[in-house]
Symmetry: C2
Subunit: 492 residues, 2 copies
């Protein structure tokens, strides 16, 4: 069928073709089918949407990726992309072969799948799972379509936390310790997705994190390490596209998690990785057996793709550190680097560094590097190399001007601090966008509390955001205090 | 956050809000998240898409369903619709309760789900399945959101075939037989989706099929039956929306199939239904045990929603009748009604009618009604009531002017006629759009064939469509002929 093409911008990255219902029917094309567009010496494929409002019969509108298709073109119904057959196979519970995983990854990378197909893939990974061999394929295929760094070093160290724990800002402590020991550690981190701060958000308090590959190479050449935002370097572009289908249902299939983490590490040129797996109530991994299984999967898949992976299973049911929000976490980080700060953050960071040293077969003493001030010094070097002030002090890091405290209504012992509620509280206060917004926990699990004691302080940039946060805190129980016989909540 | 809203048409039915990346980030909104829009005395919810090209910071574009939202409005991040939690639960393999299924159906009906969520639901039905209780809920919830016919009759008969078989045009034969026996049978049928003709496409050869509810009531009042297109009456509106997520991966979960069929029957006011379940190679149901299981599911769910369902398991690996394409099938139908025509079509129609009579507890003789010409007469009445010519003859039904035959390359016995290839052949010839296009099979399975004998004739409206069809036929084997020692295909 011949149609006259014109460009339209509907804000989609997928090559989409809007057809009038009459023409779609004549072509036998349904919404989300593909058509092939034949124009001078060129054949393009587009995903069909049917609308009688935007186009007239005999015409078709193409989105920007097909913007070069203009004038009268010949349109035929096309078969589905090969990836669709492979996704269908996964839904049948059948193990995919390397070339099938490769087809899926390439079609996602090239924006050739529509949302329904992408969602069916992610849902299939979630309900059917993947074998270690499949996850290995997924990992290497994801690396193949992205950029890759090469360090010309025997050992390149890296770390990753699978997330879900508030205030868990170990990376800016581990990286300078490891770099100070002489190991190369080109660390890229993410920004907050649903949390109050990602490592990239926190590091942005100190310096620029939007480094391109050349910047990273320069910073690492000067300091052995870097603390960059992963979004600036295209290390695993497919991952970002898959997230679109994970977010709406909060699906995070283990297979995709492992492939996502290990593909980024491999693309970063890393050889030895420590993975922090927090588990427990409210974190991503609910039980210790599940955490152990995930750790074993990480190690095994790592081995198959040529990465030595060490896993550390950590307590994930409560926050690490006391600050939650970019500046409040940055303050904790600096405190630990200067020999003070929250013990949970200090000890966890040291243990991650030690496991990494052990995995790399390096005889270094994380505690000595931290306590001697060499880690603080190296942190300053990295910050300076990324355009920041190496001499920044804790006093320079000022949280939001508006402050309120949440007191304990009754006495007892803190039995639980809820990651989800703490995150939500900090987000309502304005984090991660307002760098100074967030919360500071006054005490952790196990501490004795008297009625009226401060449980946490909220910081915000405006009074209205402070109100939004305290209103949330009043209606919930981010910090749980229990006395032995504390059963009746109130009498009505 | 305050934003200035303006309308944009991007051809989507879902209420969509296009935000600039900067504003989305400030709101903490990701693509496919929801935002709540507060405008004078009204709160609306929209699905987020992020684009820096179509909107400027401080502005937002809303699609037509939100077209009344204009000027400066307050926008906040909204929680996900309740249906999302229920879909997530299904993906965990947990049985859904009635109110959860209800929420999903209502949110789909109101276009509140994005493609990812809709796809996750359909994929979940496919991989996790549904209990009979869940399918019962799905059926009644689907009925609840659509129109419903009421016949004020004790018995209202109906039939349905789950499809996948070429030329299977029993409906226009069964309906007049049943109507002539004095039963009410208000039949609605579909158009072709992936086949060469649906019953609605075939009936359109005779008369108007786009009847609204009042038309249907008038036709049934005059003739006891009708042969209408279901698309004109909103009997199960959710079904059409779910199809969007089924088509791309050709997913057709049994639970959704049963709910789709029975909800339409219930909405049509039917009380007794016969369901034709073709099984075998290449049809929707591959094995006899699977067909039996599906039949039991149909009966049990039917009983729970108050429908008496009889199932007939039929041979589905080869076409029924000889014509494939609207006019060619219409000719077969008329031939059977006039006492001739393909024996497979005649016998299958009679058996379906007999099972329906039995199920309804009615003492009528389908064979006598057909052979006496009463069915032909009643068919003419229905055609006339739907605005057609009751006296139409087989000679009036002229297939496409361009005709080619496909001869047997070797002698032997016809061992298989492939539904998929026959459909594809007829579609390439122009069916269902060109009413006269399609194929006519010269002989069926078991017939002895000499080299050069005609296997089938292709009809098309143009020479180029005829070429497209014969080229396909030459490259495939729609009709398989085998001699006992026929193993070598060719020597190269």
């Amino acid at each position: 069928m011949d149609l006259v093409a014109e460009e339209i911008d509907i804000g989609t990255h997928t090559p989409t073709v809007l057809l009038h219902g009459r023409d779609a029917s004549e072509l036998g094309a349904h919404p989300l089918d593909r058509v092939r567009i034949h124009t001078e010496g060129l054949t393009e494929t587009g995903i069909v949407e049917v609308t009688d409002e935007l186009v007239e019969p005999g015409r078709m509108a193409v989105t920007r990726p097909l913007g070069h298709v203009t004038g009268t073109v010949s349109v035929t119904l096309a078969s589905k992309p090969e990836a669709v057959g492979a996704i269908r196979k996964k839904l049948e519970g059948i193990e995919l072969e390397h070339h099938e995983v490769d087809r899926i990854v390439r079609d996602i990378n090239d924006d050739r799948l529509n949302d329904v197909e992408l969602a069916a893939f992610v849902t299939g990974l979630y309900t059917e799972g993947m074998s270690r061999q499949e996850v290995t394929c997924l990992t290497t295929c994801m690396v193949d379509v992205g950029h890759r760094l090469d360090w010309d070093q025997g050992i390149v160290a890296d770390k990753h936390s699978i997330g879900g724990v508030a205030g868990n800002r170990t990376t800016p402590i581990v990286v300078p310790i490891v770099a100070a020991a002489g190991l190369t550690i080109p660390k890229t981190s993410s920004r907050a997705v649903t949390s109050a701060a990602g490592t990239a958000d926190t590091m942005e308090v100190f310096c620029d994190v939007s480094l391109d590959i050349q910047d990273i190479e320069e910073v690492v050449a000067r300091t052995n390490g870097c603390l960059a935002w992963g979004g600036s370097v295209d290390l695993s572009p497919v991952d970002d596209k898959i997230i679109r289908a994970e977010t709406p249902l909060s699906l995070d299939p283990a297979s995709q998690l492992i492939a996502s983490v290990l593909s980024k590490k491999q693309a970063a040129g890393s050889t030895h990785v420590v993975v922090d797996i927090p588990y427990g109530e409210g974190s991503k991994v609910e039980s210790l057996p599940a955490a152990r299984e995930l750790a074993e999967d990480f190690r095994q898949v790592g081995q198959r793709v040529g990465l030595q992976v060490e896993c550390v299973i950590t307590r994930g049911s409560e926050p690490i550190g006391t600050g939650v929000g970019p500046i409040l976490e940055a303050r904790d980080v600096l405190a630990v680097l200067e020999g003070e700060g929250p013990p949970t953050l200090r000890e966890k960071s040291l243990q991650l560094a030690e496991v990494l040293f052990e995995g790399c077969g390096v005889d270094a003493d994380a505690r000595a590097i931290l306590d001697s001030g060499r880690a603080r010094e190296r942190f300053g070097d990295i910050v300076a190399a990324q355009g920041g002030d190496s001499g920044v002090t804790r006093e320079d890091l000022r949280p939001g001007d508006h402050r309120a405290t949440v007191p304990a209504e009754r006495g007892g012992v803190i039995t639980h601090v809820d990651n989800g509620q703490v995150n939500e509280l900090a987000r309502r206060a304005g984090a991660p966008k307002d760098k100074g917004a967030g919360i500071d926990l006054a005490a952790g699990v196990g501490h004795e509390i008297s009625p009226g004691d401060e449980l946490l302080a909220v910081y915000a940039a405006t009074e209205s955001k402070l109100d939004a946060a305290t209103t949330y805190a009043d209606a919930h129980e981010p910090v749980r205090v229990r006395a032995p016989a504390d059963t009746v909540v109130e009498r009505q």
